[in-house]
Symmetry: C2
Subunit: 293 residues, 2 copies
């Protein structure tokens, strides 16, 4: 059996292949596309592709169905990273050990590349690449739009910037992080229930994804404090330097680690009714917390 | 009979009402929404709402069907204006006689407000607000995503910035302007054929909208050169100062006016087969060229 790292690599490669084929079919080769590609194919782990695959495993859905959806998710994820790095946002010159998009292509191109990737996600979801019935396709589009907008990713980034250098309580920080990171992971999981047509499972799986997002964020915070910057591909200790509002800054490291354990238990409990079908998702949750990069 | 200005105001008010109700149903009242609202309800003419209505008139489609679609279009239009004004783009401190969104709320909030409006457009189009069958709904989403992305609005703005202070020929400038302005007007018209389910008309109406976009841009360029800055709500002579690549800069004012007449004839010719049903759209085309603000 492959390790989780290998399995993530496998799903990421499949989704990258899909995206490259998708763009080549569209005859997309202008200069702006170079900046979009730089953000999209710049060697991130693409953990969300595997998370989506694990959620689809629950319903034993044919593999080819998750790939274009994970492609749309990666477009949204890349868009959010390109914009987060901008000078007026987190002002990060490096991402994954390489120059961030605005450093390489300039600020206006980075903004437009982000916008274009966000739009591409909806282009993919409304296209024939998504092999599900029309109702489920519309449910996918609706769910993704809600998790990407002002009540999701954009709203989370807004709060993150607003919270900077301010003392915030645990509830406020969790709300911000669930919007910023959790919502899209929520969609990774919820999309499986949408495609399977099991409406009753949508909320539960979305919740699992939101909790996975929180776990991901906590492990990110721990990596920032204790991790190896070479492995992570960006400088560490940035949260402290920038005065970022993190769960750790609100409740301390000990309580944060305890919270992470509680979230892991909660995720396992939510998935217990699926039995063995959910084991890849449980394994993915364990990996997300224990990763070292 | 009301004047075109009055009819535009009427459709704009109806679409504003729809958008306000839509957001209030979603319980949207966070700080980011303030910046979105500022961009969306800041008193632009909302000419695209009326253009959409005129296209719907061709098929005598019930009025309530164009309103939410025009709402989505206005979200995309506002997003593009907010981002166009950014310091790294056109760096405009004023829009419609008021501070631009980034001047009032800061750069990061303006970027996120734009992103959120873009996303809201897809949220609306995939929602129950759009009262058409699922296939047509998906066609609307697909068409809008293509006209907003890297081959449409975002791509056009990219070219516009790239062309600055460079001598470009007529073909290059028309391509840029059709992407930047024409594509969304194309969607205004095409959406009527989509909702009517007349697939064969889609390309023709899209083309009419693209030509209307060109006409709109030419009249904008003429207003910038000869217009009254108080009426327009922004300083004039900016194209020359900023070295913008416009059709006028490529072929001169006389040839540009001749081109505008040719485009008007082309639009009328395209619409002739619809007879009287297209008269509001023809009237709208005349208005677009002759407007003084």
């Amino acid at each position: 059996m492959n390790s989780v790292t290998e399995k993530i690599k496998l799903s990421a490669d499949k989704v990258d292949d899909f995206l490259k084929k998708y763009f080549s079919k569209k005859n997309t080769n202008n200069d702006l596309f170079e900046a979009m590609s730089y953000g999209l194919f710049s060697g991130g782990k693409k953990i969300r592709t595997y998370l989506t695959k694990c959620a689809f495993d629950i319903y034993k859905i044919d593999e080819y169905k998750y790939i274009p959806i994970a492609g749309a998710i990666e477009c949204v994820h890349s868009y959010s990273l390109i914009h987060d790095d901008l000078p007026s946002m987190d002002n990060d010159d490096f991402r994954r050990g390489k120059e961030s998009t605005h450093k390489k292509f300039g600020e206006s191109t980075a903004i437009l590349a982000g916008n274009s990737l966000l739009t591409t996600a909806f282009e993919i979801l409304s296209s024939d690449e998504i092999n599900v019935d029309k109702e489920r396709k519309l449910n996918l589009i609706s769910a993704l739009s809600m998790c990407a907008g002002h009540k999701g990713i954009a709203g989370g980034q807004f709060l993150d910037l607003k919270f900077e250098k301010k003392q915030k309580n645990k509830k406020e920080i969790i709300d911000m992080q669930q919007k910023k990171t959790g919502e899209l992971m929520g969609f990774c999981c919820e999309s499986a229930a949408i495609v399977a047509g099991v409406e009753d499972d949508r909320e539960k799986l979305k919740e699992v994804g939101l909790n996975l997002g929180l776990l991901f964020q906590i492990s990110d915070d721990l990596l920032d404090r204790h991790g190896d910057s070479d492995k992570i591909g960006k400088p560490t200790k940035q949260d402290e330097i920038k005065g970022k509002a993190t769960i750790m800054s609100a409740i301390g490291e000990h309580q944060t680690k305890k919270l992470a354990q509680d979230i892991q238990s909660l995720i396992k409990e939510s998935l217990i009714s699926y039995g063995d079908s959910a084991w890849t998702l449980v394994e993915c949750a364990n990996y997300i917390f224990k990763r070292d990069h």
